[in-house]
Symmetry: C2
Subunit: 333 residues, 2 copies
């Protein structure tokens, strides 16, 4: 079971699901979705599709509990479509003009159509989940759908907090964990849980997989925050320290604000320019924020790997899960 | 079974469903939804909630096929939540500043939060549908969910066309029917079909109910288009002829454009002011557009009532359905 095989099956399933909109009268609507998914128009290809990590986790979890990954494909597609629904709306909400190196949908087709395209992606995700009824008992499908919808609701809770925090001058680290639990960790946790459920795992085992996904998501986000300030542009593909320039309230920044030292003083004056960034990053590091964030990331990483060991994933898929976890968690700075 | 009893049960069920977001950390998120539903803040009350026609149709259909309407309440709530999800996003897409006499959500909380509130409403609608598993077999629930999701997709197809048509100078009446089938008729057709399904009707009977809803929706929309130009402000609650001022491509206008006479000439010059409206409306009437639209409305009304007779709804609920159909279709001009 090679990763390449899984990724190719995921892409086929996604295309099948999105083709529900491929009709003579809604060609343009369909095109918005295939563009965003990275399949059509200028710049399409693997760089534009994203890594499909979440659906890969669904399939690996289902295989690692002894299930048939092919029968779990609609759940994998459902998760990836939800992820892309949230990106479509997120880009509008954040006024982001590029995504994966290409213009975002709203910059091409306008805000009204991009909202609608996101809504369509969301509905297709739900329809994909319904397709699981072809290979699983109706009760299991309904159980999976409930887990899936709870995840969607958590995603919007996280999004609500994220938008709300942008306006607030002070937020605490407790707020931060709630926000990233919703925005980042929920969908990864649910990927693992749904994979385990449709692979045939019992409640205890599903819980272990879910926990792994939850902590993996948290660790990944904190690591991403660290790279957003001290990362190597060549590794992350985005400008290092751009988070400071954008005024993003990431975990190191919140630690710096809590510390109430030189960084906090400069940060609250705002008007941060590119020239200020190296000194601000250095201040944060001197005041211990980088170390504290790294400790948090390490702690979440330990919790993730402990949960995965507890889940005791089997076979090749199990090895792949450990490998993938390490790849995601131990990224080069 | 009084309508008042049904409406009160619908409101309770809706509040129960929306309360899923009533948590300490997302109070503001919850408030956006309760505000839009018409329950909280300035101007709340029956005027702000809307008429709840769609959920009422769900319950009446379920009772009219001999089912227990109380067990169908989650489907009624699901339909009404989808309707309100579409209004939340529609108001952003159309840049509408008021809805039911109150400021729209995006004008109060901003576009980003209002998009998210609509997304939340959508998820709550799906969760409401899942609640039907408490009182119905899992297979029936999955069948109902598929019908529900097809309706959602049709709604976004209609919305896509509506936004697209605003930019186009020429659209044909065929485009119009496709657009209102999605935007208006789908949800009413689905209200009837879901009511019949969860009331225990077989496929033929469900089809008759669905047809009734479909033609009811089309007839209602065409009637609304006519009132939008020649309606009495006191009856409709909105300024008569405002559709002409807004440049809305309603059915009479499309007939006028097809005719390619004086109206079409003036219409394509645009820059229509309030002073031009009476003459434009008179032109349209002279060129036969009002009569053609009325004939279309009458034809759809006949088809709706024929379908309802074919469905042969039973008991008090059946009488209510006929009464409601007549109330909706034969509105004073």
């Amino acid at each position: 079971m090679e990763t390449k095989t899984l990724l190719s099956a995921i892409e086929d399933e996604l295309k099948k699901q999105v083709a529900r909109l491929d009709e003579p009268h809604t060609q343009l609507y369909h095109e918005m979705l295939t563009y965003h998914m990275g399949w059509t128009d200028e710049g399409s290809g693997t760089k534009a599709t994203g890594k499909r990590i979440r659906p890969l986790l669904v399939l690996l979890a289902s295989a690692a509990v002894g299930g048939n990954w092919e029968k779990t494909l609609p759940a994998a597609a459902g998760i990836e479509l939800i992820h892309n629904f949230s990106l479509l709306h997120d880009d509008i909400q954040d006024k982001s003009e590029t995504r994966r190196g290409r213009p975002t949908a709203w910059t091409i087709w306008g805000v009204a159509q991009a909202i609608n395209a996101g809504d369509g992606m969301f509905i297709l995700a739900n329809m994909a989940m319904g397709d699981l009824a072809e290979t699983h008992p109706a009760e299991t499908v309904l159980q999976g759908e409930r887990i899936f919808q709870e995840a969607c609701l958590n995603l919007t809770r996280g999004q609500h907090l994220d938008i709300d925090y942008e306006k607030r001058t002070s937020i605490e680290t407790g707020d931060y964990w709630k926000m990233i639990s919703g925005k980042t960790a929920t969908l990864i946790a649910t990927s693992m849980e749904l994979g385990a459920l449709f692979g045939g795992a019992d409640a205890d085992l599903r819980f272990a997989y879910r926990n792994f996904g939850h902590y993996l998501g948290l660790a990944f986000q904190v690591q991403d925050d660290i790279l957003g300030i001290w990362g190597n542009e060549a590794v992350t593909g985005k400008s290092a320290a751009s988070d400071l320039l954008e005024g993003k309230k990431s975990l190191p920044v919140l630690f710096g604000i809590e510390k109430d030292g030189n960084f906090a003083q400069r940060w609250t004056q705002s008007n941060i320019t590119e020239a200020d960034v190296p000194e601000l990053a250095a201040m944060l590091e001197r005041e211990g924020a980088r170390q504290k964030a790294q400790e948090a990331a390490d702690q979440m990483t330990d919790l993730a790997l402990n949960s995965l060991r507890q889940a005791d994933p089997k076979g090749e898929a199990g090895d792949e899960l450990f490998a993938l976890a390490k790849l995601l968690l131990i990224r080069e700075a």
